[in-house]
Amino acid sequence: MAPAVELRNITKRFPGVVANDGVHFEAAEGEVHALLGENGAGKSTLSNILTGLYHPDDGQILLYGAAKVFGSPRDALDAGIGMVHQHFRLVPPFTVAENVILGDHRGEGKRFLVHPRHIERTVAELGKRYRIAVDPRARIWQLSLGEQQRVEILKALYRQARILILDEPTAVLTPQEAESLFETVRVMAEEGRTVIFISHKLHEVKAVSDRVTILRDGRTVATVDTASATQRSLAALMVGREVAAVERIVRERGIGDPVLEVDGLRAAGDRGVEAVKGVGLTVCAGEIVGIAGVAGNGQRELAETITGMRAPTAGQVSVAGRLLRGGDARAAIHAGVAHVPEDRLHTGVAPSLSIASNMVLKSYRGKRVARGPLLRLRAIRDHAVSLIHRYDVRGGGPEVPARQLSGGNLQKVVLAREFEDAPRVLLVASPTRGLDVAAIETVHRYIRQAAADGVGVLLISEDLDEILALADRIAVMYEGEIVAELDAGAASVEEIGLLMAGGSAE
């Protein structure tokens, strides 16, 4: 029997990156097939290709043995592929039933007059059959995230999707909700539907799937039977880089007194769900502490709470023994907390403003560049010229808008500014994401230099190699908590990879 889905040699390039590089994938009818990989491994690109959002540069899509070409997402829908996105595609003021028929151009939704009663009955029946009951007349904004996800699944089932893609479906669920989702997934598979389950959480993959395909750096690494794999072996395949290539530099200098102390810190994420759940941390002068973790486990929120961009709901942050006022970024800056944010372009700089303006983004209030209410434009310019020279920023003079710089040079602008005010604490988040090898080397050198100068560095990164190369101590963050703290010398990649994915030693 031909597999339900077969992807042959799929390649998709974006400017500067190959997101999918000759990916092979196949899933049978009635199978739950997990797609496992780190962020940036190419999972999202692959699912976007399968749902007709992207057109592959090369390769073939076969459904039940027949070659298909999707010109648009509608073609994929018509071919029986349904997708539940991580960020839901629902219209909040509409009812469940209305959302279900939205965009349906073959059945009920095509008619000029819709019959809400009929749709509501169908939706209720589907809900009962798959154990995902939702009141069809409820409006989306009244539902919890877990219920909204059920609506997304109902939408796909209503359109008779035979192949269902779930993109990190448990990210917004409580453990209980996740358990009931797995139940639904199994029912769907028993009926002969194919479920593609995208995740980077090992225990889920173990719990729900029949087979696993592992992607790394845009390539298929392996497809294995779940039954014969362990969390540890999957972690090795997922993270599985050449551990020997990791270069650790032992710095000969003492570690000083604590400069950053975080205690019982809690904070809500953008959607109101608690994202930081009682984090405690200490960083000493001259020390680099790495926080490893898969993106979306509360690292960004933690960084924002420490730097005062986000108000904590509980707990406290102190710098060099003095308590910071929560949610006050200015207080954190004055206390000497430098911050290299994850989103360089829209948080780290004001993109349309000149390099010179961005170099004084935090220090414009100070005496060096301001006299009373007036800015000393000459001083600002001179300051920028000297920093551009010292940090070797290429791609433009002080008047060039920051957004015209390449990623590496933009990062140099941010680093130059943050180092310039002699910080006590340096918080860097994903500092080398999207940079080329040479730029990565430069950024790492600056971070080491900062530590050598006695700054306490907190490095948040999804790149394990980076953390292993730089950090003295490693804390692993999972679902808003620090689940382990290890000495960098003693930690193994497999162990950290396992902890990052919420696994426990078997």
């Binding site: 970024a329 200015r330 207080a331 989103d343 780290g348 303006s357 414009y364 301001a370 800015l375």
Partner: protein, 368 residues
């Protein structure tokens, strides 16, 4: 497939080429319209130029038309610069006109040195107070300021109508029997008439000079001060602003107040410079507040460009009045003015976006 894409960079030559190109396009279309309606295009354009800018008389009228546009243009530019879309210049101008006229009447006919500054102050307070309503709502409740400020325009228009037409308010003239039948505002005392600067034969209204000084002030404020720096950062990226520890709420309040104050000052200038009474009909019919948004957009929020554009649009408006007559219907004047604005604003789009012809998707379709 033709797509509209955002330009990543804006080459300098575009800033000159696009307005010129838009103007050429406008004249081409206008020529077609004029030919179709049997009016000689060359002669019409010549008259447009002469009646707008070609004589002392024309220039004086142009300054009268340009002054309120300068105020409302600055009002919009100041707020839009921070991505704060104050559409309420219209209502804030009324508020300034109401308080300005009230101050002028209350202070009687003593001295211009007393009345003029008091009217300016009252206008500023009126406009700023009205603008602070959407400002506070935006800063503390994240209410969309476009809607709230727009709605307040209607509220302000009703208030100004009420004061003269539907009540025996302080502003209404009730001294003669005819004034009781045909409602009108009290005429301001002579001391409340703002002075006029004479420059050769040209008469510059005091309000015009005040507005020029304001433009200079705004330019210094936005390009040379810490306050202006924060406004520019917030306007570009609110996340970057909060990252840098800027107090965004305070800035929203301050910028709304400043924006409203400028429009309110424009309202007081209407009382003191031109109308010498509170004139609801004249003010509501003119729609200065909305025209100011067009001025600000064409000027790309640059205060000096606001001065230039307000002057040109004032001339265009003024030429329109002179052009219309038995042989030239006023509707056609409106069409010509509309065409120039349409092309200018349409061209503005091209400085920020560009059209690309997407060949790749066509190839993809060919494969399938």
């Amino acid at each position: 497939m033709i797509r509209i894409e955002r330009r990543l960079e804006q080459p300098r030559w575009l800033a000159v080429a696009v307005p010129l190109g838009s103007l050429v396009a406008a004249f081409v279309v206008m020529t077609l319209v004029l030919l179709a309606t049997h009016h000689p295009p060359g002669h019409t354009f010549w008259r447009l130029l002469v009646t707008g800018f070609g004589s002392t008389f024309a220039l004086n009228s142009t300054f009268v038309s340009a002054t309120p546009l300068l105020f409302t243009g600055l009002c919009a530019a100041v707020a839009f610069r921070m991505q704060l879309f104050n559409i309420g210049g219209e209502g804030q101008l009324y508020a300034g006109a109401i308080l300005g006229a009230g101050a002028g009447i209350a202070l009687g006919n003593h001295s211009g040195w007393l009345s003029v500054p008091a009217m300016i102050g009252a206008g500023v307070v009126g406009g700023a107070a009205l603008a602070l309503i959407p400002g506070v709502l935006r800063a503390y409740l994240s209410t969309n300021e476009i809607i709230t400020s727009l709605m307040l325009n209607y509220a302000a228009a009703l208030v100004i109508d009420y004061l003269i037409f539907d009540s025996l308010s302080y502003w209404r003239d009730t001294s003669t029997p005819s004034a009781k039948v045909f409602p009108q505002g009290k005429v301001l005392p002579d001391a409340a008439s703002w002075p006029i600067a004479h420059l050769g034969g040209i008469e510059l209204p005091f309000g015009f000079l005040v507005a020029i000084v304001l433009a200079l002030f705004v330019w210094v404020l936005y390009s040379r001060t810490k306050f202006g720096f924060e406004v520019r950062v917030i306007g570009d990226s609110t996340r970057a602003a909060s990252y840098a520890g800027m107090r965004t709420r305070r800035k929203i309040l301050a910028v709304m107040a400043l924006s409203g104050a400028i429009a309110g000052l424009g309202g007081a200038s209407q009382d003191g410079d031109f109308r010498h009474t509170l004139d609801p009909r004249g003010l509501t019919a003119a729609g200065y507040g909305y025209a100011g948004i067009v001025v600000a957009a064409l000027a790309r929020y640059n205060p000096f460009a606001v001065c230039l554009i307000a002057f040109l649009l004032g001339g265009l408006q003024n030429a329109g009045y002179a052009l219309q007559g038995a042989d030239f219907p006023s509707g056609l004047v409106g069409v010509l003015q509309g065409l120039i604005l349409f092309c200018a604003l349409g061209g503005e789009l091209l400085t920020r976006y560009r059209l690309t012809i997407d060949r790749r998707s066509r190839r993809a379709e060919a494969v399938t």
